[in-house]
Amino acid sequence: MTDTLTNRAVPDAATQLDIYRRMIRIERNDDATRTQIRRGRITAPYYSARGQECIPSAISVLLNDDDKICTIYRGIHDMVAKDMPLRPLWAEICGRVDGTCKGKGGPMHLTHPETGVMVTTGIVGSSMPIANGFAWAALLDGTKQVTVAYFGDGASNIGAFHEALNLASVWKLPVIFVCQNNGFAEHTRYENGTSVDQISKRAIGYGMPGYTVDGNDPLDVYAHAHAAIERARSGEGPTLLECKTFRFMGHVFGDADGYMTKEEKAEAMADDPLPKFRQKLIDSGVATADQIDEMTAKAEAEVNDAIEFAMSCEYPSDDELRRDVFAEEIPA
């Protein structure tokens, strides 16, 4: 039913290490975010993507800065994977004027066009229709740019998914629709809300290839993303990638996880993509344990620097309420 990849691209050693670098940067950043919230240093709604690091990391090594992503409220991992600088990211999480959005968007709505982070939406499903617009613009511009639309398994049940995939296929748009299927739509278990056992099967209805991918295996994600991105760059149109994964920290920070069993969570966490890939890199001789530890320490230092920077920034002035409503400032 769902498609099978025949020609699998394999990342070279340097690329594998780059995937890990992005994964550990995401993990250290996520850990620090939860710590800061727990300590009461920041108050913000936070949707951790702990466990999903591999997906955007293995995709982002195939993207250029001018390739675009449209992501969702559980999307900070997607941005960090795209190498968004952490200082403005943290200043935004902390609601400061030096944040990417001057403290007016917050952790659910970061934007950073320099690294291609174009839209982060808090509305389930809304990353997809907008991604189509960027892809249409790329066709008009005659570039080979692609746009990645990230969304969750829950979003594949909303109307915007259907409208966006249909249009992208009819217009042969260079979009990669990446569903990060973590098994739960908020608190609702996958099978209680979704009509098919694999979201990738829905691609058949839109006349595009659809793959179910092991979202915890960087090499599997890389191979499929490679095929999808090549297809998009060569003008053949969109692809739907369903990357199966698990979120370790529930729907929102503070979530009691009452809707899943302890056993299934423990089983999922035993398949944590980070230590697994770390071991694989060492076993295959791509890197030594020391090199990886150094990489981890570097990520941690970058995160700590960003937090201290953010905490030292000013809050936005009340005048910001009159700015950016329109291009022209609203008179006081």
Binding site: S126, A131, A138, N166, A327
Partner: protein, 332 residues
């Protein structure tokens, strides 16, 4: 500039504006259901000839998928294009409200000014053709209540041309409402009609006893009533508001202060309608200077009915305007 005029209707004026804008600026795009010549150039022919002249990449017919239309317009606008997206009828904006309200209107503010969404939404509405409750509503109050989107409802063909030229080059999202009759009634229009600034009302006729404010196809009804009021010895100053949000407070307040009386007439429901905001603002500002409370006429609190007899009763008719103007003129 030549002062030569020609008889044309709103439909021809909008077509001329789109032709001119697309000719002058390769970034201008047009999209929507049935808009290309292959599909007849629009449901009433507003976009006829555009796809033949500018090609089907810049003038794209879409599936009946309003979220997909708005999403594509938003993404393309953020990527530097100036899309004119047709949502065939104003009632159909309801199925794209997430895209319009949560995204088009808000992304500039939520991104701290990094995202620009310079798009125009074209939409048609208005009672009088027995299309009943899902094809004829004036929902401008919803959009006026949303910060970040401008709302324009022209009456004359000259205004359509001039306001479209401005809206297409405006850096912010603009919704332009085309109301039934305004598309089909020919009027004298300057051959070289250039841009008309948004946010400026037009004092259509000077008067001394009362100011009557309206917009869109209701202006035809108002003009009929004003002629009869003149015969009855009441001199009405008539304002065509043209842009409903942000509205031209200066012109309206100056006129209301001069005549001492204001009557707001619109096709939208009176309950929480734009007249309520205008009346409140005028009374807050001119309390003590007015000779009468601000009068408001709008549709009753019900859906647009089908039966001709009911539809006539639903719409504000000249006798209601005359009676209300006479009542206000007798005060103070």
């Amino acid at each position: 500039m030549s002062t030569e005029t020609v008889k044309m209707n709103g439909l021809q004026a909008i077509n001329a504006a789109l032709m001119e804008a697309m000719e002058a600026d390769p970034k201008v795009l047009v999209l929507g259901e049935d808009i290309a010549d292959r599909e007849g150039g629009g449901v009433v022919g507003v976009t006829r000839g555009l796809s033949t002249k500018f090609g089907d990449m810049r003038v794209r017919s879409t599936p009946i998928a309003e979220q997909a239309i708005m999403g594509a317009a938003i993404g393309a606008a953020m990527a530097g294009y100036k899309p004119v997206a047709e949502i065939m009828l104003m009632n159909f904006t309801t199925v794209a409200m997430d895209m319009i309200v949560n995204h088009a209107a808000k992304l500039r503010f939520m991104s701290g000014g990094q995202s620009q969404v310079p798009l125009v939404i074209r939409t048609l509405t208005g009672a009088g053709n027995q299309t009943a409750g899902q094809h004829a509503d004036f929902y401008e109050a919803w959009f006026c209540h949303t910060a970040g989107i401008k709302v324009v409802i022209p009456w004359t063909p000259a205004d359509f041309k001039g306001l479209y030229l401005s809206a297409i080059q405006d850096p912010d999202p603009v919704i332009i409402v085309e109301s039934g009759k305004t598309l089909f009634v020919p009027m004298d229009t300057p051959v070289n009609q250039g841009p008309i600034p948004l946010g400026k009302a037009n004092v259509v006729a000077p008067g001394t006893d009362i100011t009557i404010l309206s917009y869109g196809q209701m202006m035809f009804t108002v003009m009929e009533a004003v002629g009869q009021l003149a015969e009855a010895g009441i001199s009405a100053e008539v304002i065509d508001l043209r842009t409903i949000s942000p509205w031209d407070k200066e012109t309206v307040l100056a006129s209301a202060e001069k005549t001492g009386r204001l009557l707001v007439v619109h096709e939208a429901g009176k309950n929480f309608g734009p007249g309520a905001e205008i009346a409140a603002t005028v009374q807050e500002t001119l309390f003590g200077k007015l000779k009468a409370p601000v009068g408001r006429l709008g549709a009753p609190y019900c859906s647009v009915p089908f039966a001709k007899k009911l539809e006539d009763a639903f719409l504000v008719q000249p006798p209601a305007i005359i009676a209300e103007a006479k009542r206000l003129a007798a005060m103070g």
